[in-house]
Structures are given as structure tokens and as C-alpha cells.
Symmetry: C2
Subunit: 339 residues, 2 copies
DNA sequence: ACCATAATCCAAATCGTTTTGGAAGTCAAG
DNA sequence: CTTGACTTCCAAAACGATTTGGATTATGGT
């Protein structure tokens, strides 16, 4: 049988109100009766019905997160983010409500269920699109959220990796290794970070005095296959690039395949670089030069920001930019002329 | 302003009851009025308050999972399990409630909050202990659950990897490569699977006609450091083992370190094998021979079982044993005499 | 005209908690 | 003896849905 406040109230000869207030620690209940109530609650193993509490108090101590059911990103991205979010949510006394959904309408519906269904106090989201319906919805519903990634169109709390700065740094590194014909394989344009990374690439070229060449710009689908195909096309050009940047590590692995299939050596004839620093990057052969995103730490920090919002505090820094760390490894090789 | 059933009822000139039943598809409401109700609900963007619904109906369409906040296991274990559980929960229309907790009392408290607090319909748990208080609690509370791992003491639905069979297979493989002095570094005894794996190891030795030697049995803490220390001690014996099995891959990596620190070559002088087949195992140098646990698939299957329980169906197979696949790689090398 | 049946609708109870707005009793000061 | 303050308790109203047990009206058969 369920132990409710009423059970305790009957046992103690008190009203439900008093029992509730005794357990909640209000000071309008006699210390002796509070002790008695607590003792009975303990003895009966009372556990409050959280659903009822949430309904009444309109707070759930729960943070929501919707994870796309897709192989679009390598799983590791969301898993690592989730680890950070979960870890920090726990530290603040929050649970996590997860909904794994196919992207599109069902994904948005999951957000609506969470928000309008009063299941969560706040939401963490990632993989921001340039025109993101989820963000539009959350803003219109005026529900607290923090996102990993930004879009230029509107203002909300976010953490993002400074993709432009990372790309400038990477182009500079490649130039220092003697490269001038530097290609890039972009992520799909609908993703918000594509723009900033592309801009960084262009600024990087400008800084080293190289004219951008649109033959050296391709759009990939973030898969290894996509990276390989795009790289294969570029390497077949009359003047192929000597360095290829991919917008994520998975595509970079594909680029490495394409380079080797052409009988060239990665890190010698052709430099290859990625973005993310997934665990496999350091173990690739040769190890992959890449821009590291501290995803776990970002997950933690997002929760910190969100919890502050939920407490009604104002964020001094609602827009956090993190510089990706350039991990120089063998794939970006030394001089291209050496090969 | 919140849109509730009452909002719609007022708008339509109906009672809350009728609106509720119209939306729920009962056949005691006129088709014309149902259309009208649905149209109004659509127009106002009605979203049912799930908290209220759960309170009344005592169903949450949510599966609970508590993840220990510890570095005890490599993160990848729970993350991969979570990916499988999330994926399959989604397929059945369930959400996931996650609570990340430090192991011990707080962990158990999280289970109690979920169960007695009526937040979840069922629970998935992993990392079963020999005398597991969580299982004792769930059984006593008579709450549906499925576990990854079994303990001999009591009966409940589980999926487990057949550790004994895997170990027998592994010992046989090492024997075929000429090894007789085969050591094992066990996981802590409180973990339920330690016993079965140890038994499998003993049976394996018996099958190849080797007397077990307790100098070749150590207990590790599942960390790389722990594996290294235990292996270092064994390798310092007058008659050191020529093959070392670790109860997880992380410890096996530590064993490999210890072997090399002694100036021996893994896969030549000393064979090393692990358990799990984490992603890093295939990329280790040399690649690690190990027993593969299909964790993602197990996560999916646990949810399938749980959902069947929640539907009130009886499980034809409440105890599922999965044979771990032996991944033979270079670390278990050829003949030890070759070295 | 009368009754049984079916088709629609709804008031009220329920889920288990928190919160509001007092009520009852005690005590000391005036 | 009255008054006000203080302490301790509680009935009832939320919260927003679902469900129970009719009530009302229309329909059709006799």
C-alpha cells in the first residue's frame, strides 16, 4: 500500500496540512510534533509522490534534453555532452529527462511535450541550426534554456566554440608548414556553426595573403564517406590542394582515406586536419591534427548557466565563447615540398 | 497563459469531461463536437499537462535509469548502454529519466525517488552487485525492472553476458597458442559477474589440464593503474605467467604497460587479453585480444523486455544469456616459446 | 402514449501534494 | 476582564488531468 501524507496524518492524529508543513520544516509546527511526524514518516518509509508535488508546485527539478536519433553526428558527441550535463545536473540536484527522437517534427513535438507539459524546469539543446525552430519555440514559450551553439538571428544564452578563431589558427598553422593551396570541406549550411567556421577559414587565408578559390571549397555531410568523396574530387583537380581541412574529424578520416587511395602520404604530400578531437583522432594513422572542443566541460557549464537562470539570477555572461585548442599531430605534416 | 482543458471547454461551451473524452477518442462524444474540440485545441496549441495526467493515470511512459557518478567503469560502458536504452525507449514511445548519483546511499535514494515518487513506469539497471540493495528494494517494492547482470541469490528478469563461457573460450584460445601459465586479474568480488568469470577461468584451466595456482590470481579495481600494479607483481614471480587475462579492457591496458616496463613484448613474450572490447581495444598497440560485450544491443533488448513487462505480458525468456564474442588480436600473440 | 434503448453530455470525485486564510488556545500586559 | 500577540493547528482550495456514475434528450418499437 502506498504511504501518503494522509497515512501519516491518520497515524499521528494530525491533519495532512500539518504533516506536510512539519516535513517541509515550516516554523508554525511544534518541535515535538515535528519530531513525531518525522519519526513516523521514517518508520513507514514515506516517500513523497513527486508527480503530485510537481503538479502543485510547478517545479520539477528536472532538466530536459532531446537527442536526435540519427547517425548524423558521431554518437560520441551527444554522449560526451550528455555525460557533462548529467554530471553537473546531479551536482545541482537536478535529474535529467531525455527524449531520443528522429529529427524534424517529432523532435519539436518532444520539446513541446517537455515544456508545455510542465515536465522540466529548463532545457539544454545542442546542434543549433541557422534558423532553428526549437529555439524559436522556446523563446516564444518563454521557457529557460541554454544552447550549445549560436545563430546570429536572435539573442539567447549560449555557449559556443569560437570556430572562426579556430579556423584562423589552423590556416595559420598550415601556412607555417608551407601550405598555400588550402582546401576546406564544410558541414551542411543549415548548421549554424558552418558559417563562422567558413568565415574563419576565409580570414585565415586573407591573413596569409592567399586568394580564396572556390574549387577548394566543398560541402560535406559530416560522414566519413562524404569526406572521402569530396576530397577525392579535389585531389583530382589539375592543381590539387596540398592541405585539406574538414569541419569534423569523421570527414577528416575520410579525407585521409582519399589521400591514401591516390597513393599519397598524409602528413607528407598532403596535410589533413579535422575539428572536434574525437578519441579516435589521436589514434588514427597518422594521428590527426584537429581543433579540440571540450564537449564534456561545455555540458557542465551549460548546466551551470541554466541553473542560474532557473534560480532567477541574471547571467553576467550569457554568451560564452570558448577557444578550441589546436592539437598539432602528424597528419598536418611538415613542408609539402618535402614529399 | 496556460491552455488547459478548461480553456477549451469554455471556448467550446462544453464541459471539461467532454473535452477530455473528445481528445482521448472515446466514442461517447458526437463526431461533430469532437471535430470542433480538436479544431479548437489545435488552434490554441493545446498541450496536455503531463504531470497532471501522470498523477491521475499513474502511468508516466518513462523509463528510469540511475548512473553512478564515478570513474569506476570507463564512462564508455554506461554511455553505450544509455545509447541503446534511449534508442529503444524512443522506439516504444518512452522517455528516459536519468539520475546521475554518487554510488551508495544517494544512489539508492534516487531509485526510491523514482519508484515511490511515481516518476517512472519501469527501471533499467546495470552493474549488479552480489548482494545488491537496489534489486532488493525493487523486488520488495514490486516495481518492474530489468537488469544487466545477475546475482545467484534471487530471481528477476535480466540479460547477462555469459562470462563463464567467455572465459573458458579465452583460456582455450591461450592454450592453443601454447600457454600453460595463465594468470587472471579479477574485478572486485562484490560485482556479481566476478564469480562467473572466475569460475569460467577455473573450468577453462581444468579443460586444458592445468592446476590452478593462486599466485596467478589477483584482484584489481578495474582501473588501468590497478591492472598495471597487479601485473607487475605477477611478472616479478620466480615463474611468471606467460599469459595474463584481465577482467576488463582498462586493466588489460595496464597489464600491457607493466609487461613493456619489464622489457618484454606483448603478444610475444607475454600474451594479454581483456574483457569488454571497448573502442580503444582495437587501436591499442598491439591490438588487444578481448571478449566483446554487445552493450548497445543489450541496452535495446533490456528495454524490449521491460516494455513487455509494463504491458503486463509475461516474458517467455526472463533470463537471457549472451555469449561474448572472442576478438582475437595481436596481444594474445602466437607461441610463448617463440619469444 | 409509453417504454426501452442508444446517443451525448456533464458534475463530482480522484490522484497526492502545497498553500491560503483563518481558528483555537495560551499568555502576558493593560 | 479585555486585548493583542503568539503558538499551533487545520479545512478547503488549488494544480490539471481522468474516470465514475448518472442525467438528458432523441429515437424507435409496441
Amino acid at each position: 500500500m502506498k504511504i501518503t501524507l494522509k497515512t501519516i496524518a491518520d497515524e499521528a492524529g494530525l491533519s495532512v496540512t500539518t504533516v506536510s508543513r512539519a516535513l517541509a520544516g515550516y516554523d508554525d509546527v511544534n518541535e515535538a510534533t515535528r519530531q513525531r511526524v518525522m519519526e513516523i514518516a521514517e518508520r513507514l518509509g514515506y516517500q513523497p509522490n513527486l508527480t503530485a508535488r510537481h503538479l502543485r508546485s510547478k517545479q520539477t527539478s528536472t532538466i530536459g534534453m532531446v537527442i536526435p536519433r540519427t547517425a548524423y553526428f558521431a554518437d560520441s558527441f551527444f554522449m560526451e555532452l550528455l555525460a557533462g550535463v548529467g554530471r553537473q545536473a546531479s551536482a545541482h540536484g537536478y535529474d535529467l529527462l531525455l527524449s531520443v527522437q528522429p529529427p524534424g517534427d517529432e523532435e519539436l513535438a518532444a520539446y513541446r511535450r517537455m515544456v508545455a507539459g510542465s515536465r522540466v524546469d529548463g532545457i539544454v539543446l545542442a546542434r543549433v541550426l541557422r534558423h532553428d525552430p526549437r529555439i524559436a519555440y522556446l523563446q516564444q514559450a518563454n521557457h529557460p534554456f541554454v544552447s550549445f551553439g549560436r545563430s546570429e538571428t536572435s539573442d539567447y544564452p549560449y555557449i559556443d566554440v569560437d570556430g572562426a578563431r579556430g579556423m584562423r589558427r589552423l590556416v595559420q598553422h598550415l601556412a607555417e608548414n608551407g601550405h598555400r593551396r588550402i582546401a576546406i570541406i564544410l558541414s551542411p549550411w543549415e548548421l549554424a556553426f558552418t558559417t563562422t567556421r567558413y568565415e574563419g577559414y576565409l580570414e585565415g587565408l586573407d591573413a596569409i595573403g592567399v586568394q580564396p578559390d572556390e574549387a577548394y571549397v566543398a560541402e560535406g555531410d559530416l560522414t566519413q564517406q562524404g569526406g572521402r568523396d569530396a576530397a577525392a574530387r579535389m585531389l583530382a583537380l589539375p592543381e590539387p590542394p596540398t592541405a585539406i581541412i574538414a569541419c569534423n574529424d569523421l570527414m577528416a578520416f575520410g579525407v585521409m582515406e582519399a589521400v591514401e587511395q591516390r597513393g599519397l602520404r598524409v602528413g607528407h604530400a598532403v596535410a589533413v586536419a579535422g575539428f572536434d578531437d574525437v578519441p579516435a583522432a589521436a589514434h588514427a594513422i597518422p594521428p590527426l591534427t584537429t581543433l579540440r572542443q571540450p564537449i564534456y566541460a561545455i555540458g557542465c557549464q551549460m548546466v551551470d548557466m541554466l541553473v542560474r537562470l532557473l534560480r532567477g539570477e541574471t547571467l553576467e555572461h550569457a554568451h560564452v565563447l570558448i577557444e578550441p585548442e589546436l592539437m598539432v599531430r602528424a597528419s598536418s605534416g611538415p613542408q609539402p615540398a618535402q614529399a
